[in-house]
């Protein structure tokens, strides 16, 4: 059984009668890392949003199975409990919500759902320090409000830190590499490589090939106009970097005609 199976997924924005995804098919096995590339507006982030359960998107057709179960039936928090994690493209600032309280609430609620005991305060702090050191983030960030006043790089690194804390089965990274300088990009990539293991799948959505210089994907998919039109290995990412998306567009048009 695949970790994630997306079949003929059509989705749009409920209120505005806009259709964005036009039949996405994708299968990801546990332990695999797939990259989804594509130009702006191709539907990459919409796919991530639908997977995480964002309510403003409406699924019109198709299905998503997560570990064989219908994912679309679940609330966002239930998806997190089942093991889905979305690293946000734009992490939200939550003034007044301390990082420590937030992580404690989150970790204990997923632990409870997974049949594990809540961590005591002391064990939690130890666990938090371990994970902070694993993904190499400044422990001082845990003393602040969630993302408040964080730099762009700190926000993205904080997403990887939360990934490490929540131990999901499927991690979706929505353009986590965007806007990072080289140090932060390497830091984020190192984090992903450390957290990528046999029991976890990754879906890395990216605009650029550069993060794939540090992370070697099992598959690279190209998304155009709400569909996956081409899949290949890492070579495909290099080719896209060199040649852009026009040749894919032409190829897709030819195939359609």
């Amino acid at each position: 059984m695949a970790l994630l199976e997306i079949e003929n997924l059509h989705a749009g924005v409920e209120d505005e009668d806009i259709k964005i995804l036009n039949g996405v098919d994708l299968t990801l096995d546990t332990g695999q890392l797939h990259a989804i590339m594509g130009p702006n507006g191709s539907g990459k982030s919409t796919l991530a949003a639908v997977l995480a359960g964002r309510e403003e998107y409406e699924v019109l057709e198709g299905e998503i199975l997560f570990q064989g179960e219908d994912l679309l039936e679940l609330e966002p928090e239930e998806r997190a409990e089942e093991g889905i994690f979305l690293a946000f493209q734009y992490p939200v600032e939550l003034p007044g919500v301390s990082m420590t309280n937030f992580l404690k609430e989150a970790v204990n609620s997923v632990r409870e759902a997974r049949g594990q005991d809540e961590l005591s305060s002391a064990d939690f702090l130890k666990y938090m320090r371990e994970k902070a050191s694993l993904v190499d983030i400044d422990a001082d960030l845990t003393k602040r409000s969630v993302n408040e006043g964080f730099s762009g790089g700190e926000k993205k690194r904080n997403e990887i830190f939360q990934l490490a804390m929540l131990q999901p089965k499927l991690a979706i990274l929505d353009e986590t590499d965007s806007g990072l300088d080289i140090d932060a990009l390497q830091n984020v990539s190192n984090g992903v490589n450390k957290l990528w293991n046999e029991e976890r799948g990754f879906l890395v959505i990216t605009h650029y090939e550069r993060i794939l210089q540090y992370i070697t994907p099992d598959r690279v998919h190209v998304m155009l106009d709400g569909e996956i039109v081409h899949s290949g290995d890492q070579e495909l990412a290099h080719k896209l970097e060199e040649k852009g998306y026009d040749w894919i567009r032409e190829e897709a048009a030819a195939a359609a005609a």
Binding site: G53, A80, F85, F88, V92, F102, A106, S109, L166
Partner: protein
């Protein structure tokens, strides 16, 4: 002895005639130190009358309607018997404090537990202080709250009998909080007018907590006036927790004056009540003063809460910081009107004012009006107001981490109020209030 207000006459005249009836007797029995301004005050009240919506300062709060009820004025009456078990729910666990309990505006010594105070510090009833420390009382009483132009202060001053008193002499530190627990208890509809005076002299440091609770569902109206003085290099934290229940209305006036290099921080957390008007006035009458005014309103049902602040900068090189937040549920209404006044020549003033409101329900309302009146040219003053709803993006972010929608909403509301509550500088009190606020939020989602 009590006087029933004569509801056949106009509300203003009721008070004037009650004053005339009692003036020669009951009111005369009060300490001379606090009685001197009575006649002056009733004359000002007679001129000013009960505030109506026609006045800009009272535009959104119809206090006249609430005052026009058949209240009884308890003048010289013995307070009804209240025992330890009655006040137990209002005591704050873990807050080791010098406790004074006032029942219907009068200190009840049997319920109080003042404990040992540093040398020279006085914590007592105002009436007792008037007799025992007339020099301190006369130096400060009636100096900071304006009974000449403010009708409700004039009314309070005319009928003054008792209230809370704290005196911290020069250079003295009171480590434990001074806790004034105000209880209303009566089967009758009461009109109460407690009067408080807090004096923190040069270099002295104190924290004062006031909590208002009720043991009755009778309709009550409390017209409080509290005055505070903070001497040079002094530091006073002054907190107020308002939780008198749905049948209690009040006008609560706090007026403070501070001298050079002093810090005065005040916060009112309004939790329950019917119609509540808070006036917080601070005069920074010294250089290098810091003044902090905070407020949190947790509105429910048809509560109406009006916070008026006035920050007077009459000397240069001071800063003031105001933050008021509202979370309004049901049909509750809040008003915020904050005025910052900078006198001619008061240069290098840094004044900040902010009012933020979460409107949880279509029927809840907020009226907000920041005002700046500046006569100096080298100042930095800013004000802002926001009104909105809980940030849905934040709720989704929390849910995506496994936190239930309900818990996510509670967390977002707590986070909103945290910015104000974190300014409460007594851990046990802050935890107590935070828990109550959190309990309320749990009923909102």
């Amino acid at each position: 002895m009590t006087t029933a207000l004569d509801t056949d006459s106009d509300p203003k005249d009721r008070f004037i005639s009650a004053f005339e009836v009692n003036h020669g007797q009951t009111l005369n029995g009060t300490s001379a130190s606090i009685s001197k301004q009575r006649e002056d005050a009733i004359e000002h009240f007679a001129e000013l009358g009960i505030p109506t919506n026609d006045l800009e300062l009272w535009k959104y709060t119809n206090i006249a309607k609430i005052i026009d009820r058949p209240y009884t004025l308890p003048l010289g009456a013995e307070p009804p018997s209240v025992d330890e078990s009655d006040i137990a729910p209002f005591l704050i666990d873990d807050m080791n404090a010098h406790r004074v309990v006032l029942v219907n505006g009068r200190v009840d010594e049997s319920l109080s537990d003042i404990g040992e105070l540093p040398s020279g510090v006085v914590v007592s009833s105002l009436a007792q202080a008037g007799d025992e420390h007339p020099d301190v009382v006369e130096e400060h009483y009636g100096r900071y709250a304006d009974y000449e132009d403010d009708a409700m202060t004039a009314l309070n001053t005319a009928f003054v009998q008792d209230g809370a008193f704290a005196y911290v002499p020069s250079g003295t530190i009171v480590e434990k909080p001074i806790f004034f627990l105000h209880i209303t208890a009566s089967d009758e509809d009461l009109f109460l007018q407690p009067r408080h005076l807090f004096v923190v002299e040069d270099g002295a440091i104190a924290k004062i907590v006031e909590a208002q609770h009720a043991l009755t569902d009778a309709q009550t109206f409390t017209n409080t006036v509290g005055e505070a003085f903070v001497g040079e290099r002094g530091n006073l934290d002054h907190y107020l927790f308002q939780d008198e229940g749905h049948s209690a209305s009040q006008v609560h006036t706090r007026a403070a004056q501070q001298k050079d290099n002093s810090v005065y921080s005040t916060q009112a957390v309004t939790y329950t009540g019917e119609v509540i008007r808070n006036n917080a006035t601070v005069e920074a009458d010294g250089t290098f003063c810091e003044s902090n005014l905070f407020g949190l309103v947790i509105g429910k049902d048809d509560m109406h809460v009006d916070n008026h602040t006035r920050m007077d900068h009459v000397q240069p090189d001071c800063n003031s910081n105001e933050l008021y937040k509202h979370v309004l549920n049901d049909e509750s209404t809040a008003v915020f009107n904050g005025k910052v006044y900078v006198a001619r020549g008061s240069q290098r003033i840094d004044a900040y004012q902010q009012n933020d409101t979460l409107v949880m329900d279509n029927d809840a309302q907020i009226y907000t009006k920041p005002e700046l009146e500046i006569y100096a040219d080298d100042v930095e003053c800013s004000h802002g107001a926001t009104t909105g709803q809980v940030d849905e993006e934040g709720v989704f972010y929390l849910r995506s981490r496994g936190i239930s929608e309900r818990q996510a909403r509670i967390l977002m509301l707590q986070a909103f109020s945290e910015e104000v509550l974190s300014e409460l500088g007594i851990d046990a009190f802050r935890d107590h209030v935070t828990e109550l606020v959190r309990d309320r939020f749990a009923t909102y989602v």
